[in-house]
């Protein structure tokens, strides 16, 4: 035991030894890679943010065209940066108990970086400036600022980032449900009902919730992005602005929101290491995360309060969900973390201090968000800088702070020590003063009615921007001091990792002594432990019968009368495509679920993942009138096109069977939903 305490050094609470294992090389490496890249991205985007604030303060003269390019890049880059860092952090804490795939994590990284590069080129070189929310049809009204290639590249970039997150979510969902015995067990529902005596660890439950909501968000996002990509190729494609807005905000809001919940899953593991008390799953915890599963997916509609044509019930549901989302956060996560900390002889280090600061950021930013989600209040604050204020509060002062806390945790563990108290005080002080000062000016401006996303501030309000920019400089100084401490810690960690004390014998004097020697590198482990078999989507005779019945119903999409009727409009035509996709998909699921076939197909989950990811996207990519209308003149080509729709479905269905019962079912259901949403949005 003493040896391990020495390994922790001053980095963790002495009591943490009882429940903290040594981090494997691969966890550390991936953690450092994701957190390092994410934080570097956040830092770069922060500089862009400062440039915009200085422009609004009329200190520097960025033109409106450049302002909106920078604004767009800043938004996408920031969300992607914190997403990367938080994915790395979750992988780090989850990998100890769930055999996550290293290869898929590296795929996530590659896709995300490729996406960021595409957005970078689309904005800075291509001039794309429709905002990170790219509210359709704005991308197609460039006002002379960008060309078709840049808007296409922007959509592709977002698709890649979404695909990266999707791979991460599939891996997490597949591995957690396999490890803990199915979806209901992993979410703790069996434990809640008293069927199981033990529940999965908190981080596994939280990660599963994030993965499910993440997959839904990615499916929605891919749908609208592919629709818009098709619109760049065929300008005759119509867009239903209301449906498109719903899809865009479902995607954007949920992904941004999920970065915090990814962080929440991480703190259940990290904070106990400083409190010296383990965090246990309780029934209240399970109930709370079940609530979050629903609330995260239903709260987005508050972005559409001022679209009065949105059904009122949707607004009311959103208002209830937005407030409801507060309850698990306030009653479970933040509250129980403060309980954990209270009277624990808390071990204050750089990482633990930042983790604690993040709670306050989440709480205060969350209150600002909940206030804005009340419909009559939103009527007075909608799209003012109040919105900017509350999401920057919980993004900068919670998610970004947790991201750097995670990096600090890694470095401090490796270095076996923390930094000086004075430096920590300066760092946290500057981050708090600068951060809350910056967001505070937005809150005040929002109450004044200053609209957000203005390249040129309303007359007489630039003073706020001057004050805001000054606080932003303090915030930047705080992060700069933090990074200097990171460098010191990294040096210490390097020394500690590279060298070990080795026993030597001096043959001349006949004495034994110890000297520094190079440590043998443990090298990266490229693949982690395999996983047990996890079933197929249609696991019983009754379920196979259901699949067969669904195929028979979906066969109607090939009836000539139905195909003729669907020619009335693009929307109906797409609905018919969805039916054909369903038919092919169900056939694939049915076939792949048959025990004999399943055995022959073997455990090719990565191929399955590729199929469920790519096949639905390919189908929607060719659902463009300019592609399929020329084929309609020839009956054979027409029939082949529709068969291809079913073929994409077949590949998806077959691929889904390789992902197991839970993930396979969810992915197949989402892939069927995608063309339906596509039909609703593109007309």
């Amino acid at each position: 035991m003493e040896g391990t305490v020495t390994a922790f050094g001053e980095a963790l609470h002495p009591r943490a030894i009882a429940f903290t294992g040594a981090a494997q090389g691969i966890e550390r490496r991936l953690g450092l890679l994701f957190a390092g890249t994410g934080i570097a991205l956040v830092a770069g985007m922060g500089v862009l943010g400062l440039i915009m604030r200085l422009t609004q303060a009329t200190v520097i003269g960025l033109s409106p065209g450049w302002f909106y390019r920078v604004l767009t890049l800043h938004g996408v880059g920031m969300i992607t940066g914190v997403l990367l860092a938080m994915m790395g952090a979750l992988w780090y804490v989850l990998h100890a108990t769930v055999p996550l795939s290293t290869g898929r994590m590296l795929t996530t990284y590659s896709l995300t970086i490729a996406g960021v590069l595409a957005v970078l080129i689309a904005t800075l070189i291509g001039g794309f400036g429709a905002g990170w929310a790219f509210l359709p049809p704005l991308p197609f009204y460039p006002a002379g600022q960008w060309s078709v290639w840049s808007e296409s590249l922007f959509f592709v970039g977002n698709l890649l980032v979404g695909a990266g997150f999707c791979v991460f979510c599939i891996d997490v969902l597949e591995r957690t449900t396999n490890t803990y015995g199915g979806l209901f067990r992993t979410l703790g529902w069996h434990y809640l009902r008293g069927r199981d005596k033990e529940a999965p660890p908190p981080q596994a439950i939280a990660a599963t919730v994030v993965a499910i909501d993440g997959l839904i968000s990615c499916a929605v996002g891919s749908t609208i992005l592919l629709g818009l990509l098709g619109r760049t190729y065929d300008h005759a494609v119509g867009i239903d602005a209301l449906v498109a807005k719903n899809l865009v905000y479902f995607f954007g809001h949920s992904i941004a929101n999920l970065t915090i919940y990814l962080g929440a899953a991480v703190i259940y593991v990290l904070v106990p290491r400083y409190a010296g008390r383990q965090y246990e799953t309780t029934k209240v915890f399970v109930a709370g995360w079940t609530g979050s599963l629903v609330f995260i997916a239903t709260a987005y509609s508050h972005h559409l309060y001022m679209d009065f044509v949105q059904p009122t019930w949707a607004d009311v549901v959103s208002e209830v969900a937005s407030y409801g989302a507060l309850i698990p956060v306030a009653v479970i996560t933040i509250y129980s973390m403060t309980m954990l900390i209270w009277g624990s002889s808390f071990h204050w280090t750089l990482a633990s201090t930042l983790l604690y600061v993040g709670f306050a950021g989440w709480a205060i930013g969350g209150v600002g968000a909940v206030i804005d989600s009340i419909i009559p209040i939103n009527f007075r604050l909608h799209n003012t800088t109040w919105v900017v204020a509350h999401f920057h509060t919980y993004l900068i002062l919670c998610v970004v702070v947790w991201a750097v806390a995670f990096l600090a945790h890694l470095l401090e563990r490796d270095a076996g020590r923390t930094t000086s108290r004075a430096l920590r005080a300066w760092t946290v002080g500057l981050i708090l003063v600068g951060g809350y000062g910056l967001t505070g000016t937005w809150f005040v401006e929002g109450a004044l009615g200053v609209p957000r996303r203005y390249a040129i501030q309303p007359s007489g309000t630039s003073g706020y921007s001057v004050v805001g920019a000054s606080f932003a400089l303090l915030l930047a100084l705080g992060f700069l001091i933090l990074f200097l401490q990171f460098i010191r810690l990294a040096r210490a960690a390097w020394e500690r990792r590279q060298h070990v004390l080795v026993d030597h014998f001096d043959s001349w004097t006949g004495t034994h002594y110890q000297a520094r020697g190079l440590r043998a590198d443990d090298g990266p482990t490229l693949e982690t432990a395999g996983q047990s078999r996890r079933g197929v989507p249609l696991a019983s005779h009754a379920q196979l019968g259901f699949g067969l019945a669904a195929c028979i119903v979906a066969l109607a999409s090939f009836f000539p009368q139905v195909i003729d009727a669907s020619e009335v409009s693009n929307r109906y035509h797409h609905l018919d495509h969805a039916g054909q996709f369903l038919l092919g998909g169900m056939l694939g699921v049915l076939l792949g679920s048959l025990p004999a076939v399943s055995r022959r197909l073997g455990d090719h989950s990565s191929l399955g993942l590729l199929a469920v990811l790519v096949a639905p996207m390919l189908m929607m990519a060719v659902m463009v009138p300019r592609i399929y209308e020329p084929l309609e003149g020839d009956p054979l080509e027409h029939a082949l096109y529709h068969l291809a729709m079913a073929g994409f479905g077949f590949l998806t269905g077959l691929g889904a069977t390789r992902l197991g019962l839970v993930t396979g079912r969810i992915m197949f259901a989402l892939s069927v939903g995608m063309p339906l949403m596509f039909a609703a949005a593109m007309k």
Binding site: G131, L135, P137, T312, V331, I374, V444, G460
Partner: protein
């Protein structure tokens, strides 16, 4: 709601002098827009009602159609409520941080913490039911037919607002029928004092209807509240509410 002296002073520093269209209301009394001086506003206040409207419009035009913004009463109430809640939270976190270093038995913390948590949950639920419940009685969505209302058709486009009619008599119950010819815009309406009194989105292919009672005469400013492209921040217009 009358602003405290310190608040008005801060506001003057950050936004410039406040505007009072008729010399009798507003936070501090003052001018329209950045270019008009306090003296000229006072002088205009002495002219008769018929000339006031023209004067308001002239002032709006002379300032490039831009009126200074000022804190509305609801927004101030919201801001103060938030500030109080944020400070209470900050205080709570500071207290917890000071207690974190002490050594208290885990069981004792659990007993007290779980007892307190039930009450905390109950409190949040009660607040939620009250807040959400009350808010449902004050939804801004237009209901019923437009009978008895002055209908103003509002069309947004890159980068203009078209209003028909663009003058309505004071005291009108106005129904704004808002749409767009190209992209999404946000119709934000600011009263003659520069208070944001409401907003609704202008969405292509849809008509959003907003009902407002415009009791006060003067020049109301319209700003775009949804990113709509290059000149989003200068997409402005005005609606004149005339005296009856």
């Amino acid at each position: 709601m009358r602003a405290p002296v310190w608040f008005a002073a801060c506001e003057r520093v950050l936004t410039g002098p406040a505007r009072d269209p008729h010399g009798s209301r507003g936070l501090t009394g003052g001018t329209i827009g950045p270019s008009a001086g306090r003296g000229s506003s006072t002088a205009r206040c002495s002219v008769d009602d018929g000339h006031k409207e023209a004067a308001d419009e002239r002032m709006a035009e002379s300032s490039g159609g831009r009126l200074s913004l000022h804190y509305g009463s609801p927004q101030m109430a919201i801001g103060i409520t938030f500030a109080v809640l944020a400070l209470l939270l900050a205080l709570a976190f500071a207290v917890i941080a000071t207690q974190a270093g002490s050594a208290v038995g885990a069981q004792r913390v659990h007993d007290l913490g779980y007892w307190l948590r039930k009450r905390w949950l109950a409190l949040l639920l009660v607040i939620g039911v009250l807040v959400v419940g009350v808010s449902l009685f004050d939804l801004p969505f237009a209901t019923g037919s437009d009978a008895g209302r002055t209908v103003v058709k509002v069309t947004g486009g890159q980068f203009f607002w078209s209003l028909s009619p663009n003058r309505v008599p004071a005291g009108s119950h106005v129904r704004f029928e808002v749409s767009s010819v190209d992209v999404n815009h946000g119709f934000g309406l600011y009263d003659p004092h520069g208070h944001l009194i409401g907003s609704v989105q202008a969405m292509p292919g849809y008509h959003n209807e907003l009902d407002l009672n415009l009791a006060e005469a003067g020049v109301y400013q319209i700003r775009c509240l949804e990113l709509c492209g290059l000149n989003h921040s200068t997409m402005e217009s005005t609606l004149t509410v005339t005296r009856r």
